[in-house]
Amino acid sequence: MPIGGFVIALDRSIQDEVLTQFAKFSQIEIHGVDEEGNAVAVIDTETSDEMEQLTRDLQKIDGVLSLGVTYFHAEDEIEKIESGELKPTLSFGRKGEKPANCS
């Protein structure tokens, strides 16, 4: 259950509309916006996969100029990977070693 700290650069001319859009996402907390349109955000998700997807969705919102990550806490994901409880789903293991196909 990772937690990320972000500075999200907003287009000041439509800042309020963007913040309204953000409010639709329960995983985001906005802690303030400075005069240049930099929003301090914390994103708290069930998985880092979800966080990655969410940051992607946020960047599609009109008025989001960039999304800078400043802090990332992996929480219990590391232990889960190490214990084998969480296996990256795109891993195929090392068992399938085959000679290369050089077409």
Binding site: G32, S48, V69, T70, Y71, S91, R94, G96
Partner: protein
């Protein structure tokens, strides 16, 4: 009221973000510090060439649990990108190589063996090759991702122990033209200034670079500067493809692939025609050249530009380029208070990449947009240590450590003396450059090759041609890496290496900045640092070759503790003995100093006292660059002391328009260009194992202009075959106003046999830099079917 553990962490995340923009939040700092990070450790991001400084948080069990940007870093000011944030998952990935693997024949399965056996086999094979077929039957192919200590040590072993200059690395594929451009224009490799010029500039000229995806943290600075100064700061983006970077540009110059030289010459034409040049700067610091030995005057240069009036160039360039646009761009460039240019592979990976670099530098020299705040001609680097390790540490076949040329006997002797080996030991001729090296693998003239931290079996152009050579049973291949790759598939011996933060060493990023990353995490299984592997390998070779010089090569490092003492001894030898008095003087950047510095040291930094100030922000400026001061020949404020220009002048070059090596024709009517996407790093051996990144871009796509899509009857996500004279691949289509009409743009990260675009790309190369022309070749496309469910693929 007490806070939960997750609230503590969230407070920490919020406070960290807020601190970067100077915002105060109503939290008590003590509360935020309660998260379970036992210690934070500064290091450098492992991925692109920006050199972002990070802090890795380790818990009480020694596990990496958190990451944050280093707020005091002058490269990233604490900001990172998601790709960088995710690299802790690489450390812990179950696919990590953890034991040496060996097979005598490449059609056999691998078997795990001990380090003792593995090193002995590697030593015997290289020694046998040298004894039976001569020194040049051995080769090393490294990476811009190796630590400087690793590149330096491997090249030392190859040159001093095995007596071959067959030392290459993948920066040949991405940065060699930039090296050639800097040397021929400024007399010295690597940028004059720093990223700090971004915030001081009034005009930014971005050409052949999609920095929004390839260098997102630098792009953030560019974007922020533009947004904060919308009217004052102008951004020009020149690229045949409309990319994420183009979105912030005031002007997007979309030209036909391979016509960039005409466009740049036309900008120079306008600058002279409208008297926008800096007469005094040119008179004081520049000369005009047609060839290396042919000096010409400004009149001859002006005459050469008559073929590139804006009207003529607009016709050559096509796309949306007009004469008016060229003039406007030239005026913005020349008249601004400070213009900084950024470029990357779009300029370097060209048949005439060095010339393209020269023509950008020409604009800066003509207008005096150099050596002052906000002005610079800056080639971005793709890899984290292409500059520090390979360009500075001697990681290419023609250069020795400290920017020394192999062909110069005096410089070879300096290196031999520093290493305590007999003069004449280093071979006088450069070794084989990358394409030539793999041609020699194809012909089995190279019998034993060590490939470190890179995957040429995927990253070389026309890759199938070279994979056939690598598959030969009479070519012995050692690969050292952290994961299985397309290259380990073709290897006899696979050695598991320690990853970033699992060993100590230095990366030198694009802006001449060297930064130390310490060992703070235990590597899995039997994975070991490359410096230990190379040292032990060389010591074993000494026995087989019965040659005391071989042992002498690694004697200063033998037996030292492998994680800190050994790399430090190597760094000390390199910096103290090999950079002394050179333009990349790093003597002040000792481990002691680098540990103290939040963001490392920019060379030249001859003394520790100077290095502790951060080093040289801008080269060649007296009072700023200590070498400019100490080597000053006159009263002028700038001293261009670069080793490649005996006249100590900047050279403005006459360079004609030159298209691609392979232009479209009736049979192959389309241009093919290739590049990266934000989520993936090179061949995806690392980022492909991070599900979040892989899901975002699970396979390659080909971007097709809507007009071409209509012409070929292609709809979004249709499967499209891309074929060239060399091979063909099939991948889904993205129909978008990205590439210019007549050009398709394919992502190159995909390992899948059906989608590996380098099977199609041409292996022609720049005759000067030997860098391949990845960015342009001719192809044809056709719709194969409607959308298909595809599976991502990673070699395991």
């Amino acid at each position: 009221m007490s806070l939960s553990r997750r609230d503590f962490i969230k407070n920490t995340a919020a406070l960290t973000a807020a601190s970067y923009i100077g915002m105060n939040l109503p939290f008590v700092a003590g509360e935020a510090n309660a998260a379970d990070v036992a210690s934070w450790h500064r290091g450098t991001c492992r991925l692109c060439g920006t050199g972002c400084r990070v802090q890795l948080g380790i818990n009480s069990k020694g596990q990496p649990v958190a990451m944050r940007g280093e707020p005091k870093s002058r490269t990233n000011f604490g900001y990172l990108c998601m790709k960088g944030m995710m690299f802790y998952k690489i450390m812990n990935h179950p696919d990590r190589l953890t034991m040496p693997l060996y097979r005598e024949r490449k059609d056999q399965p691998f078997k795990e063996i001990s380090w003792d056996k593995a090193l002995d086999i590697a030593a015997r094979k290289f020694a046998e090759a040298k004894q039976q077929y001569g020194p040049n039957s051995t080769a090393y192919y490294g990476s811009g991702q190796c630590l400087t200590e690793e590149t330096y040590l491997f090249q030392k072993i190859m040159r001093a122990a095995l007596q071959t200059n067959n030392v290459e690395g993948n920066p040949r594929l991405c940065m060699a033209s930039a090296v050639g451009g800097y040397l021929t224009s400024f007399g010295a490799d690597e940028p004059i200034g720093s990223y700090a010029n971004i915030e001081k500039s009034s005009c930014m000229f971005l050409i052949g670079s999609n920095m929004a995806e390839a260098h997102p943290v630098i792009f953030r600075r560019v974007m922020r500067h533009k947004m904060n100064n919308k009217d004052k700061v102008k951004v020009i983006n020149a690229d045949p493809r409309f990319s994420a970077t183009s979105r912030i540009a005031d002007m997007h110059m979309q030209f036909k692939p391979g016509t960039d030289l005409a466009m740049l010459n036309a900008m120079a034409y306008t600058i002279i025609d409208e008297k926008l040049y800096d007469k005094e700067f040119i008179a004081d610091y520049a000369v005009f050249r047609k060839g290396k030995k042919v000096l010409v005057d400004m009149e001859a240069y002006w005459k050469s530009l008559q073929d590139y009036t804006p009207e003529k160039a607009a016709k050559i360039c096509g796309g949306n380029i007009t004469a008016k646009m060229i003039r406007e761009a030239a005026r913005m460039f020349a008249k601004s208070d400070g213009t900084v240019s950024f470029w990357c592979m779009g300029i370097n990976q060209r048949k005439r990449g060095v010339w393209a670099n020269n023509l950008i530098h020409n604009l800066h020299i003509l207008t005096g947009q150099l050596c002052r705040e906000g002005a610079d001609s800056f080639s971005l680097t793709g890899q984290p240590n292409a500059c520090g390790g390979v360009r500075e540490g001697g990681g290419l076949c023609h250069i020795l450590p400290g920017h020394r040329l192999v062909v110069k006997e005096k410089l070879r002797n300096q290196v031999e003396d520093a290493w305590g080996i007999p003069r004449g030991r280093i071979a006088p001729k450069p070794g084989a450059h990358t394409i030539k090296m793999f041609q020699q693998v194809n012909s089995a003239d190279i019998k034993a090759i060590w490939i470190n931290c890179t995957s040429p079996a995927q990253s070389l152009p026309n890759v199938d041609l070279y994979r056939k050579g690598m598959a030969r049973e009479d070519v012995f291949i050692v690969t050292s890496d952290i994961f299985p790759t397309r290259t380990t598939e073709l290897s006899n011996l696979v050695l598991p290496t320690a990853f970033h933060f699992e060993k100590s060493g230095v990366y030198g990023c694009t802006e001449r900045r060297s930064q130390l990353t310490p060992k703070v995490v235990q590597s899995p299984g039997e994975a070991r640092p490359e410096t230990w592997i190379a040292t032990e390998w060389c010591a074993r070779m000494a026995k087989y070759l019965n040659d005391p010089v071989v042992l002498q090569t690694v004697k200063p490092f033998l037996g030292k503790e492998m994680y800190v003492e050994q790399p430090q001894a190597i760094w000390d030898e390199y910096t103290q003995k090999l950079t002394k008095g050179r333009d990349n003087d790093l003597r002040g950047a000792s481990y002691t100093v680098l540990k103290q510095m939040a963001d490392g040291v920019q060379w030249p930094a001859p003394t520790e006292a100077f290095a502790l100030t951060g080093g040289t922000v801008m080269k060649f400026v007296k009072g700023v660059d200590p070498m400019a001061t100490s080597m000053s020949k006159n009263e002028k404020p700038f001293q261009f002391y670069g080793p490649a220009h005996p006249d100590k002048k900047l050279w403005i070059w006459i360079r004609p328009q030159a298209g691609a090596d392979e232009e479209p024709d009736a049979d192959w009517p389309m241009y093919l260009s290739t590049g990266r996407v934000i989520d993936h790093w090179h061949t995806t051996s690392m980022t492909g194992r991070i599900p979040e990144l892989m899901r975002a871009n699970p396979y390659s796509f080909v971007e097709i202009n809507p007009k071409d899509a209509m012409r070929y009857g292609i709809k979004p996500n249709d499967m499209v075959e891309i074929e060239s004279r060399r091979g063909k691949v099939t991948m889904p289509a993205k129909v978008m106003e990205g590439p210019i009409e007549g050009m398709v743009f394919a992502y190159w990260h995909d390992m899948h046999e059906d989608r590996m675009i380098n099977k199609v790309v041409k292996d022609s190369f720049d005759p000067g830099s030997k860098e391949p022309e990845f960015k342009i070749c001719a192809c044809r496309i056709k719709r194969v079917s409607g959308p298909k469910a595809l599976k991502p693929f990673i070699v395991t």
